[in-house]
């Protein structure tokens, strides 16, 4: 019997660890849905970008500042990672989602100019590199800046002309397809730039803690403990921001009724950008923590599965509710852990969706979701 108890508790620990990563990503899904009523399918790929940014950040730290303590290096890399992903999330929102809400116009010229300038840099950069004293990074930067400066005025004129004929699109389908497009873009461009070979973070010299409680032996690694603690801290920080600060109040206002919020003087576009920033920085943190402290290898398609499961977790817990996202994520992590360790191990990916369908049948708005009735 102690054997069964040991497995039960150990799988519980494993499940909570898995769930903590799902929670960090699910929060991003749920916040964006709450504010925009829109599922950001590209969110899982922000996690992937976080894993890569963190990878280069920590290797850069080790090369440039080897005298810093591992803790300092990790924290610096984590901050860089969260910053990078925050910028990416804000940029995606500005580039692809905002022009759908507010019809395409002059104000969208610089994001698109930057986007296309990056591609020009990617393709023309190597040619410039060959015929100049610049290395690949320098050539890429110079070409991108020049292309950007050239494209901005061109696009401003073009978008001004196009914009007069367009109305904002409130179609949920359009936004969804755009999100899927961004997701595919990130995955495939990521693979083209980073290659298809799995990457591994440098060894973190993590310790395994074994707890011997009489006949039960439980193990946890220091890395996984740190991930759990970090996830708890970040989630509590987020809940504090959303519940007890003015800016959190603004976010909640926009999620209840964007038009009324705008009438009350809340800059809805900026609040939406902030929501993306918060969600994306959490996903970036998850990417860094999971692969660095969990020591898992990854490549450009790592966001697909994880993003899907985190999305399911958010829906399970009630999309739009942050506590729901955390609850749903923990439930999914635990379910996966118990199923993976049982005889039905090969169904571990399926169990998440089975639970989702079962819950939605009886509680369509999720476990902690608000039941919104449509007034006709």
């Amino acid at each position: 019997m102690t054997n069964a108890l040991q497995i039960f508790i150990q799988q519980f620990i494993n499940g909570v660890q898995t769930g903590s990563i799902y929670a960090l990503i699910a929060i991003g899904y749920t916040m964006v849905y709450g504010v925009l009523k829109f599922i950001n399918f590209a969110h899982g790929d922000v996690y992937m970008v976080g894993a890569f940014v963190g990878f280069f950040a920590i290797n850069g730290m080790l090369a440039a500042f080897p005298h810093l303590s591992p803790l300092a290096q990790n924290i610096n890399a984590l901050i860089l990672c969260m910053l990078g992903c925050a910028l990416l999330g804000a940029f995606i929102e500005r580039l692809a989602y905002r022009p759908l809400r507010n019809a395409l116009g002059e104000q969208d010229a610089w994001p698109w100019a930057l986007f296309w300038a990056l591609y020009v840099g990617l393709f023309v950069g190597p040619i410039v590199e060959q015929h100049s004293p610049l290395n690949s990074v320098g050539a890429f930067l110079i070409v991108t800046v020049i292309a950007f400066a050239a494209l901005v005025p061109v696009l401003r004129i073009a978008f001004r002309a196009i914009g007069t004929r367009l109305k904002p699109s409130h179609s949920r389908l359009t936004a969804l397809i755009t999100a899927i497009g961004i997701s595919l873009l990130l995955e495939n461009q990521g693979q083209a730039v980073f290659g298809a070979t799995p990457r591994q973070y440098p060894d973190q010299n993590l310790k395994t803690f074994t707890f011997d409680l009489g006949k039960i032996e439980l193990t946890v690694t220091s890395g996984r403990l740190i991930i759990l603690v970090a996830a708890i801290i970040l989630t509590l920080l987020l809940i504090y921001i959303v519940r007890y600060t003015r800016i959190g109040k603004a976010i909640r206002a926009v999620s209840y009724d964007p038009e009324a919020a705008a009438l009350m003087g809340i800059p809805t576009d900026r609040i939406i950008a902030l929501t993306f920033i918060i969600g994306s920085s959490l996903a970036g943190a998850a990417g860094f923590l999971n692969h660095n402290l969990g020591q898992l290898s990854f490549k450009a398609d790592v966001g697909i599965q994880l993003g899907l499961k985190a999305f399911v977790a958010a829906v399970l817990g009630g999309i739009g509710s942050i506590e729901g996202a955390v609850l749903g994520a923990m439930l999914m992590g635990l379910a996966e852990s118990y199923v993976a360790g049982s005889a039905l191990g090969s169904f571990k990916n399926a169990i998440a969706f089975v639970i989702l369908i079962a819950v939605l049948l009886f509680r369509p708005s999720g476990l902690l979701g608000r039941n919104v009735t449509e007034k006709v």
């Binding site: 040991q6 497995i7 150990q10 494993n14 499940g15 660890q17 507010n102 116009g105 002059e106 104000q107 610089w110 190597p126 040619i127 590199e129 060959q130 004293p133 610049l134 290395n135 690949s136 990074v137 320098g138 050539a139 930067l141 110079i142 991108t144 800046v145 950007f148 400066a149 901005v152 693979q191 083209a192 730039v193 980073f194 290659g195 298809a196 070979t197 799995p198 591994q200 993590l206 395994t208 032996e217 193990t219 690694t221 996984r224 969990g294 020591q295 898992l296 290898s297 990854f298 490549k299 790592v302 599965q305 852990s337 118990y338 993976a340 360790g341 049982s342 191990g345 090969s346 571990k348």
Partner: protein
Amino acid sequence: MRHNKRNKPYLLRSLLALSLALCAGVAFTGCKTEEEKKASDSGGAPPTTAAQPSTTPGTSSAGGDKIVVGEYGSLTGDQADFGTQTHEGIQLAVDETNAAGGIERDGKKYQIQLEKEDDQSKPALAETAVKRLIDEKNVTAILGEVASSNSLAGGKVCQEKGVPMISPSSTNIAVTKLGDYIFRICFLDSYQAAVVARFAHDVLKANRVAIFTNKGQAYSVGFSDEFKKAFTRYGGQVVASATYSDTDQDFRSPLTALKQANPDAILVPGYYKDAGTIARQARELNYTKPLLGGDGWSAPNLITIGGDGVNGCYFSDHMSIKDPKPVVQNFVKAYTAKYSKAPTSMAALGYDAAKIMFASIKAAKTLDKKDIRDAIAATKNFDGVTGNISINSDRNADKSAVIIKVVNKDFEYATTVPDPEKPLSQ
């Protein structure tokens, strides 16, 4: 709503800031170092993005006769280590043969032109890669692949179109069963798994073993089945088994279940990427007994991914580069001179496969694909780097396997098991 007039100063200012920042970045990091200048002065080729397939024209003398040989491999992706090493072995063989004048037959000397295609470790892309080699590049014969799943996909096309194919290292039995144009120069999983089973039972004294299979890879599934059969025959017992899939990263839950059965060893017959992570996580769960594997483990990245977790583990392999035989050491010297790193058994297999291919092309009655196929089938007692190679009637090779032990993040030769059906004296 138009905000242009109000945001103009913002836009201009942010543009200026962006440009200044980028210029600063370029000034600090953007200029070439001495080495990079030398490389570009000597006419380095522009870098290509990793996802594009590329072709490498082999050395060819101006106006000489050429024989085009195709190669498809996992140059990127999960098994990139295997693909690149196999390619390096093949390229070394091509360069050596071309430098010695090429393939000589009927008084003419043919230079070998190697056309390579990347399948990113994916069977679907392996199929398109082989189609491209045959239809567009008009290859006479094909070398590839390493992963059995990819060989099965590519071999199907080769058999359909009647192009002889030699797989350097696919060990699943189904590969040569595709048809009479498909060969392999390595041992089978049925042999390899039996070797590991015999070693585990007799040397490690492991009577209870758990198996952790990658259900998405033909290699892993086949290996697990063969191991179970052999291990039970030698008197051992498989006490638990679990499966995982290619996309899994977190193996702690199934490992917890396997550990619960208290096995003396866990067999993980997967590729190095999974095996490394599994070994690491097994140690995190405080499982200290050895993990066992097959030739899928044989890559330097096993250590990078597995870290200290793989110490004390064993796997079967085609050869050890520490073998003092002259043919092995000559190969190691030539490979190290060309690539500035030590070869692996995959590179050696690629080298042997290429050399056997060239020898068969030389010995064939005509340059017709059917005659080349017959010549490959007639290969007997080829003195290869990976051992004495004879192609038998099933188009497989009868060879010995070695056991490698991972010691202090390095591969050490443990022992050779020539015949797993005979008990080992230890």
